[in-house]
Symmetry: C2
Subunit: 339 residues, 2 copies
């Protein structure tokens, strides 16, 4: 029995991803964070913990808490403040997902039925509000007004990014710079805030800016990769239906580049296919073909790798230790996902 378990562990060791290795290194911190996520989603109103446990436990990668905790470890020690912060960051992210699903009208989330398909739009909106409020109660426990300022500012920037994205839906000639402004706000701002506040929660002012730059660039790359996988993965791998963005008329980098490089004929295809009203069921596979044939997927991967380079450069300002190295590995891992 013991032998079996050991060989299983060894087998797992061999195939462990960087994220899993980080999870091992952060096991204690993550356990404390998970306990807070569970405890603070409690409510006498049963649907609230039901719905939030459903989405909080729905196979999320805990990437934002991991960045928070590893940033803290890289520059100091963790304690209740850092754990509360990591849980708060995940609650903010979760609240955003719940509201996103209503805004995007998505049916799947993290490979499972979206919460709104089970509990309805209204409950998803209100439980999102609940988790957002609980995030701020958790942050009070860091004892730092500066951290509250960083995360509340990031939260308003996220909402701005979501509104920008809403307005860009179906805008076929969206510029790459507009796309970058959207993902900087809706995704990178929270990674940046998580890393900066993580450092501050461990008592380090000195490296907070470098870690913030790491978080920002990792977040940009992460979103570029995530958007690219919507044209290059399978449901099993990426945990969502391929082509979600395409079907919603959400314009992302692979499409922007492919459309820029398109022939006059292909431009006509893109303009029709990117309108939800005139899109047909066959358009997705042709869109994927054009994205690959034009080299847009490679160009997208290069853009992501450039941001990951910037993320790793920011880490060079930090003292060399196992946490800084693992954050650098995390950036590499993010780049590997797209290839």
């Amino acid at each position: 029995m013991t032998t079996t378990l050991n060989s299983e562990t060894l087998e797992l060791d061999a195939t462990r991803t960087v994220a899993e290795r980080l999870q091992d290194m952060l096991a204690e911190d993550l356990a404390a964070t998970e306990a807070l996520l569970l405890e603070r989603s409690k409510s006498p109103v049963a649907v609230i913990p039901d719905l939030s446990d459903y989405i909080v436990s729905a196979g999320g990668k805990r990437l934002r808490p991991i960045v928070t905790l590893a940033a803290a470890r890289a520059v100091g020690n963790t304690g209740h403040g850092t754990h509360a912060l990591a849980a708060a960051v995940e609650f903010i992210h979760t609240a955003t997902l719940l509201h996103d699903d209503v805004v995007d009208n998505s049916d799947l989330r993290r490979g499972k039925k979206a919460a709104k398909k089970i509990w309805g739009n209204s409950a998803s909106i209100l439980v999102g509000d609940f988790l957002f409020a609980r995030a701020f109660t958790l942050m009070v426990e860091t004892g730092s007004l500066e951290i509250l300022n960083i995360l509340s500012s990031a939260s308003s920037v996220i909402a701005e990014g979501e509104v920008r994205q809403l307005q860009a839906t179906g805008k076929k000639d969206l510029a790459a710079s507009d796309y970058m402004a959207i993902i900087e706000a809706k995704t990178a701002a929270l990674f940046e805030a998580a890393a900066r506040a993580g450092a501050l929660s461990a008592g380090s002012e000195k490296y907070a800016e470098s870690l913030a730059q790491f978080g920002r660039n990792l977040g940009l790359a992460f979103q570029i990769v995530d958007d690219a996988l919507d044209y290059g993965g399978t449901t099993a791998i990426i945990g969502k239906q391929v082509g979600d963005d395409f079907r919603e008329g959400k314009i992302t980098l692979p499409v922007i580049i492919a459309r820029q490089r398109a022939s006059a004929e292909d431009k006509i295809f893109w303009d029709r296919a990117l309108s939800v009203e005139t899109q047909t069921a066959q358009d997705l596979s042709h869109a994927i073909h054009l994205i690959r044939a034009s080299g847009a997927m490679e160009a997208t991967a290069e853009a992501a790798l450039d941001y990951l380079d910037l993320a790793k450069q920011a880490l060079r300002h930090l003292p060399d230790n196992e946490w800084v190295r693992s954050l650098s590995d995390l950036a590499d891992y993010c780049g590997e996902r797209i290839n």
Copy 2:
């Protein structure tokens, strides 16, 4: 004053007298608060200030900022911290309204077209999130973690109340105690937090609990009255369509009492009419008739007056000054609205 639909002019006069006196007394504080509401709803994403200015300026009574500011004045001096708090409280309230309109599917708000009818559900959800985030940034400027704790806790309680209300929709046999639990969470919690935090923002720990009890009971009475007006006012007076709650199947105190007192025949009416599916256009006027004939409106008014008495009793712990007296007048005014 008589309890009829025809006392419109008298009610409006009473409104002007109390509101104008309080607004005069608080003129400087309210101007500072308004300036913050305008300034902090700014965003490079134009739809955000457009939508939030629309709802923030939509004739709201600023009752919550007034309670916040008057509570602070009653026990000390106001300054940027109190003004930031008052603006934060109004932003939280506004965010709740925006999400409420989506959840309730209301077409009118404060007598105007609901924001979601102009900008859509998605923008209303996201701008609500934006204002909620900005509320917390404002609160950081109070410099008080305790205030942030009070308001973030109140915000999660509000969301709990909204979920409870959602679940109670169409529940014809809703108990009065369930109704009270709903309005305590969705309305009284914010008034309580506003008054408590207002006192703290002026540096007074000593009277914070008494002011919190004032706020809580005022909030309960205010919501009871507001719900009662849905069966007893006109669009011109209360700024919303009469019968909104009825049409949405929202069960409030006048209905609960009328249904408890109903004959077997009238119970059949209530059970059919309170189901959105089986309700007819004529049911509202019969419901209003039954509410009046059964004395349910008077009983509802009495319940409100009881809470207003408790609110005024809480003020007796405070030193006598013009601010405490004006808070007491505010309670009286709230009671006059129903008659």
